[in-house]
C-alpha cells in the first residue's frame, strides 16, 4: 500500500539528513508505529506519505514514495485526499468548519462527491466513532478526546485506504486514549485500513502495533516487529524495561503476555502491604471552598484541600475535569467565584513581581509561552537580571538540567524537551517555594521524561520544596508523585498516596502494576527493590 524506495530527506538550511536511504513497504491492513526521540523526524516521515513534505515544507527528497500506486512526487497532497487521511498533532489546529457535521463533509465537498453518497457516509462515520450526539455541536465546545475523534472521523469519511496519525493520544487522558486506539484497532481489522501512527507513549499503543519503524535522528531507521525492535531499542515502554530488569529471555508487549511470563516470579512473593509515608505537617498551599465558573459552568466546585511541604502531588482526571483550572488558581491567575488559595498564608491572587516569582513557579501547558527571548542566552540573561542574581546562574541551571544546549539557539528551534528544560530553569532561577507544572510530558520522549522526573524529585527532596503537577501520564505519576488527587467534574473524588489511588482504578493503573497485581508495585524500580530485598 505504501512504498518507500531509497528515500532520503534533507530540509533546506539544515546540515543533517532527516531520513537516509529508507526502504520500507507497508502492506494493506497493517498498523505501523513510528518511534524515535523528539525531533528525530517522525512527523516528517508521516507527512512524506501524503506529500505534505516536501510540497508544503520545502526540502530535498531523493528516492520515491508511492501510495496505492501513485507516486507522491508527481501529484499535490490534495490529489491524494481520497487515498490518505491525515490527522495532525493538534487536531484543533486543522479544523476548518464550525460544527462537527460541517467539518466531516468539508473534505467530501471538496472532492465533489454527490449528495446521497455524502449523507450515507456521514451517518456511517458518525456511528462508527460514536459522534451522533455531537453532530451539531460547535467544534470549539468539544473536549480534547472528542476533538480527536472528530478529526479521525473527518479523515475517515472520505474512505481513505491509509490513515496517518501524529501523536493521536498525547493530549488525551488514559480512557479517551484507549477509546481512540480501540477504534483504530477495529478499523484495521474490520476494514483492513492501513494505519501509520507516531507516538511517544509506547505503553498505550504497543499492543496494537504490527510493526515498528524506529528513527534514531541521524537519518537511520530500522524496521521490524515490536519484539525485534524493542529487544535492543533504547526507547522502550515500562513493560519492556520490566522484562529486562527481571532478566526475561523474551519480551512481551501486552500485559497478558507479561503476566504469563512472570507467573512464577509473582508466586514467589507474599503480598506486600505498602506502608504509607507520612507527610510533613507544614501546610504550604491551603485551598478552601474554591469555586471557579466559566460562563455559568462550574470548573471547580467548592474544593478544599491542603498541600504540605516537600510533597509531590499529581492532579489527575479526565480531559476537562478542572485540572488546569485548579493549577491556575494555585498560581493565582484565575478568577475565583468564591473561596481562596493561600500559599504560606498569603492569598495567591495578591502576589506580585519578585515575591510572586519566589513563591510560585508555574510552567504552562505550552512552555514556550514563558519564553520571548531571541536566543537561549538572552532568555537566561533576562532571568538573571529579573532576579538580581549572578549573571550566568540560569544558564548554569540549564546546563545541569539538559547538558549541551548551545546558548545561541533560538528557543523555537529547541526540541520539545529542551524547551521545557529552558522554561524550567528560568522558573527555577528565582528559587520558588512551590513548583506548578501543567501537563509537562506532552511530546516528551522517555529520555526527556527521565530527566524531568529526576529534576522534580531533587527539587522536592533536596531543597525541601513542593511540586504540583497535572498530567495524564500515569507512568510519570507512578515514578514521581507521593500523593495523587483525582478530580472529576470539579470535585475531588480521590485523594491519597499514589499507590492507593492508582491501584484502585484499572484505567489509571500503570503497566507494571497491571502485570504485578495484586502486588502494590508501580514501577520497575519497585519490582527490582522487592527482588533485592527477597535475596
Amino acid at each position: 500500500m505504501i512504498k518507500f524506495s531509497n528515500v532520503s530527506l534533507v530540509y533546506p538550511n539544515s546540515t543533517t539528513t532527516v531520513i537516509e536511504d529508507l526502504t520500507l513497504e507497508i502492506a494493506e491492513g497493517e498498523l505501523v508505529l513510528v518511534i524515535g526521540p523528539t525531533g528525530s523526524g517522525k512527523s516528517s516521515l508521516l507527512r512524506l506519505i501524503n506529500g505534505l513534505v516536501p510540497h508544503h515544507t520545502g526540502g530535498i527528497l531523493a528516492g520515491d514514495i508511492s501510495v496505492d500506486g501513485v507516486s507522491t512526487s508527481s501529484v499535490k497532497p490534495g490529489a491524494l485526499a481520497h487515498v490518505i487521511g491525515i490527522v495532525g498533532q493538534n487536531p484543533a489546529n486543522g479544523f476548518v468548519a464550525d460544527t462537527v457535521e460541517e467539518e466531516l463533509v468539508f473534505g467530501m465537498e471538496a472532492l465533489n462527491l454527490s449528495n446521497d453518497v455524502m449523507r450515507k457516509r456521514v451517518e456511517e462515520t458518525l456511528d462508527l466513532l460514536s459522534l451522533v450526539p455531537l453532530r451539531n455541536r460547535a467544534l470549539t465546545s468539544l473536549s480534547g478526546g472528542e476533538q480527536q475523534r472528530v478529526a479521525i472521523a473527518s479523515a475517515l469519511v472520505a474512505h481513505p485506504k491509509v490513515l496517518v496519525l501524529d501523536e493521536p493520544t498525547s493530549a488525551l487522558d488514559p480512557i479517551a486514549a484507549e477509546e481512540v486506539l480501540s477504534i483504530l484497532h477495529r478499523l484495521v481489522h474490520d476494514l483492513s485500513l492501513t494505519v501509520v501512527i507516531a507516538e511517544h507513549k509506547l505503553e498505550r499503543v504497543i499492543q496494537f502495533a504490527d510493526r515498528i519503524v524506529q528513527i534514531n535522528g541521524s537519518g537511520n531507521a530500522s524496521v521490524g516487529t515490536p519484539e525485534e525492535i524493542l529487544m535492543y531499542s533504547t526507547i522502550v515502554p515500562p513493560i519492556v524495561e520490566l522484562a529486562r530488569a527481571i532478566g526475561l529471555e523474551e519480551i512481551g508487549v501486552s500485559v497478558r503476555e507479561m503476566r504469563r511470563m512472570t507467573q512464577n516470579l509473582r508466586d514467589s512473593f507474599d503480598i506486600e502491604v505498602k506502608e504509607t509515608t507520612r507527610h510533613s505537617n507544614d501546610v504550604i498551599v491551603d485551598i478552601a471552598d474554591l469555586t471557579i465558573a466559566y460562563q455559568g459552568k462550574k470548573a471547580l466546585n467548592t474544593l478544599t484541600v491542603k498541600i504540605y511541604d516537600n510533597e509531590i502531588v499529581a492532579i489527575m482526571g479526565r480531559n476537562g475535569a478542572g485540572k488546569s483550572s485548579l493549577l491556575r488558581a494555585i498560581a493565582g491567575v484565575s478568577e475565583n467565584s468564591s473561596g481562596y488559595v493561600k500559599i504560606h498564608g498569603v492569598d495567591s491572587q495578591t502576589l506580585q513581581r519578585k515575591i510572586r516569582r519566589q513563591t510560585v513557579g508555574y510552567i504552562p501547558q505550552e512552555p514556550s509561552d514563558l519564553l520571548y527571548g531571541q536566543s537561549v542566552q538572552k532568555e537566561c540573561d533576562q532571568a538573571d537580571s529579573d532576579n538580581d542574581i549572578q549573571p550566568g546562574t540560569t544558564f548554569e541551571i540549564l546546563q545541569k538540567l539538559i547538558p549541551g544546549i548551545s546558548e545561541h539557539v533560538h528557543p523555537r528551534d529547541l526540541s520539545e524537551g529542551q524547551r521545557l528544560g529552558l522554561a524550567l530553569s528560568v522558573v527555577l532561577s528565582s528559587n520558588p517555594q512551590l513548583l506548578v507544572l501543567d501537563e509537562p510530558t506532552r511530546g516528551l520522549d522517555y529520555q526527556a521524561k527521565r530527566v524531568l522526573t529526576k529534576i522534580l524529585i531533587d527539587f522536592a527532596r533536596v531543597f525541601n520544596r513542593s511540586v504540583v503537577i497535572a498530567t495524564h501520564d500515569v507512568e510519570l505519576v507512578a515514578e514521581l508523585a507521593s500523593r495523587t488527587i483525582f478530580i472529576a467534574d470539579g470535585d475531588i473524588v480521590a485523594d491519597g498516596p499514589t499507590v492507593d489511588v492508582l491501584l484502585s482504578s484499572p484505567a489509571f493503573a500503570p503497566q507494571v502494576s497491571k502485570i504485578m497485581a495484586p502486588q502494590p508495585w508501580l514501577t520497575v524500580a519497585d519490582v527490582v527493590a522487592a527482588i533485592e530485598s527477597q535475596k
Binding site: P77, G78, A81, E102, E109, N112, N115, R356
Partner: protein
C-alpha cells in the same frame, strides 16, 4: 430578538449597500446613525462565535483611527480659516519641501473637518466589520465558487486563526504575569508579540496543510452537503439596504 438564520451573503450585501450610502451622503450624522443602526443589529443578532467579536474590535480600532487622524489633520494640513482655538508654532521646513506646513493656527473648523472625515471613513469599515461579525466565515466560504480558492484559504485561515490568537494573547499574558513581569507597556508588548507571531505563523501553516491534504481546491466543482437556501427574509433584508441606498 430572535436570531435570524440568513444566507451568508445577505449581511455582506446589506452592509455594502449601507456603506455606499454613507459615502454618497457624506454626512457625519448619517454615518453615525448608520453605525448605530448596525450596532443594534449586531447586538440583537450576534451569538458567542469567535468572529462576532470583530464588531467590537472594529469600534475600538475606529476610535484610534479618528484620534490619530484628528491629530495629524490638525498638525499637518491645509489651514482652514475660522475661530482659532490655539496656536502651534510653525515648523521651519527646508526649501525643497514647499507646500507642506507643520503647525500653525488650529481652528475649530479645521479640527471638526478632520474629525468628521475620520468618522465617515471609519463608519464604512465598521459597517463591514458588522457584516463579518454577523456571518460565519466558514458558511460564507461554502457559498463562494471554487475559483476563489486562494481567497477561500485566506478567509479560513484568517477567521480560524484570529480567534485562536485572541485566546493565545490571554494565555501568553498570563504566562508573563506568572513570570512576575509587566503585562502592559511597550516592553510587555514585545514580550507578547514575539511568541504570538511565531505561534500564529505555525498555526496558519498547520491549517493550510490540513486544508490541502483534505483535497481543498483539487476538484473544479464542489458539491454541497446541505445547500444553503436563499429565503424570503434574505431578499427582504437586502431590499431594506437597497432602499436606504436609493433614498441616499
Amino acid at each position: 430578538m430572535k436570531r435570524l438564520s440568513l444566507h451568508p451573503l445577505t449581511w455582506w450585501i446589506f452592509s455594502a449597500a449601507i456603506a455606499i450610502a454613507v459615502s454618497r451622503v457624506n454626512s457625519t450624522w448619517f454615518a453615525l446613525v448608520a453605525v448605530g443602526a448596525m450596532a443594534i443589529i449586531v447586538f440583537s443578532q450576534k451569538d458567542s462565535a469567535p468572529w462576532s467579536k470583530s464588531f467590537g474590535w472594529s469600534l475600538k480600532l475606529a476610535m484610534w483611527v479618528i484620534a490619530i487622524r484628528a491629530v495629524v489633520g490638525v498638525v499637518i494640513g491645509v489651514p482652514i480659516p475660522g475661530t482659532v482655538i490655539f496656536h502651534i508654532p510653525i515648523l521651519k521646513l527646508p526649501h525643497w519641501m514647499p507646500g507642506i506646513r507643520i503647525g500653525g493656527d488650529v481652528t475649530r473648523e479645521r479640527l471638526f473637518s478632520s474629525i468628521s472625515e475620520g468618522i465617515i471613513i471609519c463608519a464604512i469599515f465598521v459597517i463591514f466589520a458588522a457584516a463579518a461579525s454577523l456571518t460565519s466565515p466558514h458558511r460564507l466560504l461554502r457559498v463562494l465558487p471554487v475559483y476563489m480558492y486562494e481567497f477561500g484559504v485566506t478567509v479560513v485561515i484568517a477567521t480560524s486563526v484570529l480567534p485562536q490568537l485572541v485566546s493565545a494573547v490571554s494565555r501568553i499574558r498570563m504566562a508573563a504575569r506568572l513570570r512576575g513581569q509587566q503585562t502592559s507597556g511597550v516592553r510587555a508588548f514585545k514580550r507578547i508579540a514575539i511568541p504570538l507571531l511565531e505561534e500564529s505563523l505555525a498555526r496558519c501553516l498547520d491549517l493550510a496543510a490540513a486544508m490541502d491534504s483534505r483535497g481543498y481546491g483539487v476538484s473544479k466543482k464542489r458539491s454541497r452537503y446541505r445547500p444553503i437556501q436563499w429565503k424570503f427574509i434574505d431578499s427582504a433584508v437586502i431590499a431594506m439596504g437597497l432602499l436606504v441606498l436609493g433614498l441616499a
